[in-house]
Amino acid sequence: MTAVLVLGLLFFLLAIGTPVAFAMAFSGGLGLYLTGGLPILMGVLQTTPLSAVTSYELITIPMFLLMADLVLLSGVADDLFKTAAAWVGRIPGGLGMATALAGAGFGSICGTSTASAATLSSTSLPAMIRQGYEPKMAAGVVAISGTLAMLLPTSVALVIFGLLAEVNIGKLLISGIVPAIFVTITIMATIYLLVWLDPSRAPTIKAVSWSERFGLLWQVSPMVILFSIVTGTIYLGVATPTEASAFGAFGAFCLACWKRKINPTSLYVTLRHAAQGTCMIVLIIMCAHIFGYFFTLTQVTQNIVGWVGALDVSRWVIITLILCGYIVLGSFMDQIAILVLTVPIVLPLIKALGFDPIWFGVIKIVTAEVGMITPPIGLNCFIVARYAGRPVGEVFQGTFPHFIAHLFAIAIFVAFPDIILWLPNHMNR
């Protein structure tokens, strides 16, 4: 009964726009008081704030956020799109495909999908519009390509899942790589199909000479180095994800210095922005701990797991329902909030059903990518619309084909878990 009351209060507070962290701490705190009395609530409120923060692994989040902000500051992404466009621009829809490739390249050194979408919006979108691409399609591919950042190493979202699910974060980051390549190919194939259906959507551009192509390739080398510093060291087991994240941030700092983008003001703004992002994420994790104590005390999770386990349905039906639920939730809730609210309940269920938690984490993040581009609050679409000065509705229309394509991609990942699990199982530790 208390559990129903607490959940009702939580949803009410979320609905009226209370910050997610406040809503979780308040309803969880009330639940603790009702079930355990004042001493338990006081104990939790006294220990949780500090214990939730004083963890060494947690610094992976501020370091990846800082790395993303510094990469954004350095402006290296401009070269990335130019290079991709020189290589694949001649194919029908080539600039759209170049956007997907630039999104994947940028995503591998920048862990937040919004930063990635903002960068692509200011570089590849104007280039496509100038070449006479259909604005709807151009905006759509920019919005979806930005989400690749969530799946590649340096992804803040994957780290949050890893911390919540208590899985090996190094393995988790590495396991996103093959699915990210697969999703990139899916995006490119969707573009090819769209252009094949209506060639007027994407006029062909003139070819770039081979010497120029190789000259441009040289310009992306700093990004390749940065990628190797982080992903290479994690994959080879040379550094922990925490160390690799600080290395990546330092590398991005050097890159920004080399590009002469660092001055006291820009550095301060970047550091403060990353600190505030960290604060927002850590507060949610901290308040989720308070809420989690309530669930542990009342055994809500065990009851749900027991109830679902006793159901006479295939586990594939259950995972399908869970993923559909995630896509629906993702259309109106923030992804970090979804992770924090659902992982503590869904993950024990996933384990009880015999699925791999790392496999599930990656698929969860692919559904989060979909959430970034579905109305009414698909954040990436808003970013693209603002940078491009185009109506949001048009961007949402443009992302629709990619939404459908992503559903197929998710189905394939569910059916063939080895796509996700093959690479981490060959890691050097």
């Binding site: 406040f22 500090l50 060494y56 610094i59 501020p62 160390e243 604060c279 927002m280 954040l379």
Partner: protein
């Protein structure tokens, strides 16, 4: 009165944010240097791990707490709110302020008691370097306290706005219309 308190809070937050920003930079440099010392010179810093997990990370978080709230950086589900009229929006925000106060006043008070307890008992971390634990625990009442003050001022300002019909405090921007704010870190 309200304007003056908001200005004072902003000034305090400017200071704490600056410290938090320095701490961010420190984490990056210390962890980088630690790894280099370990692999290249085989002499890691013995103090890096405790210093970062005990003090610096707590500092980044607690000293940014109120500043992040001030720029509307703590995410919320803002899908229903913009559909209401201004008075109901105000009422919802007042409830949120109260909820925030109900959490952060006890956290500040209990955190203060704990830091005081650690200080008077001279509690230190077991290990090579006896780090005092009160200095870490003290971040809790400082950070949570500033946020509680800001929430109290917002509560007064929002209630006054609701009663007088004046906009003493602007209503928060709708999701996607101010994406350069601190939210949206996926």
């Amino acid at each position: 009165m309200i304007k003056a308190s908001l200005r004072a809070l902003t000034a305090i937050e400017k200071l704490t944010s600056a410290i938090a920003a320095c701490f961010m930079f420190a984490i990056m440099i210390i962890v980088f240097a630690d790894v280099v010392m370990r692999y290249v010179f085989n002499r890691p810093f013995s103090w890096a791990y405790d210093l970062i997990s005990l003090y610096i990370m707590a500092g980044v978080f607690f000293l940014s707490l109120s500043g992040t709230y001030a720029v509307n950086g703590h995410i919320s589900v803002d899908i229903l709110l913009p559909r209401f009229n201004a008075a109901i929006q105000r009422l919802c925000i007042i409830i949120s302020n109260l909820v925030g106060l109900a959490i952060f006043i006890p956290i500040t008070w209990l955190g203060y008691l704990r830091a005081l307890d650690n200080l008077s008992s001279g509690d230190v971390l077991a290990g090579a370097i006896p780090w005092p634990t009160w200095a870490s625990a003290a971040f809790v009442p400082v950070g949570a306290g500033i946020l509680a003050l800001r929430l109290a001022v917002h509560l007064v300002a929002n209630t006054a706005s609701l009663l007088t019909g004046q906009d003493l405090l602007p209503l928060p921007a709708i999701s996607g219309h101010g994406v350069e704010k601190a939210g949206g870190f996926e």
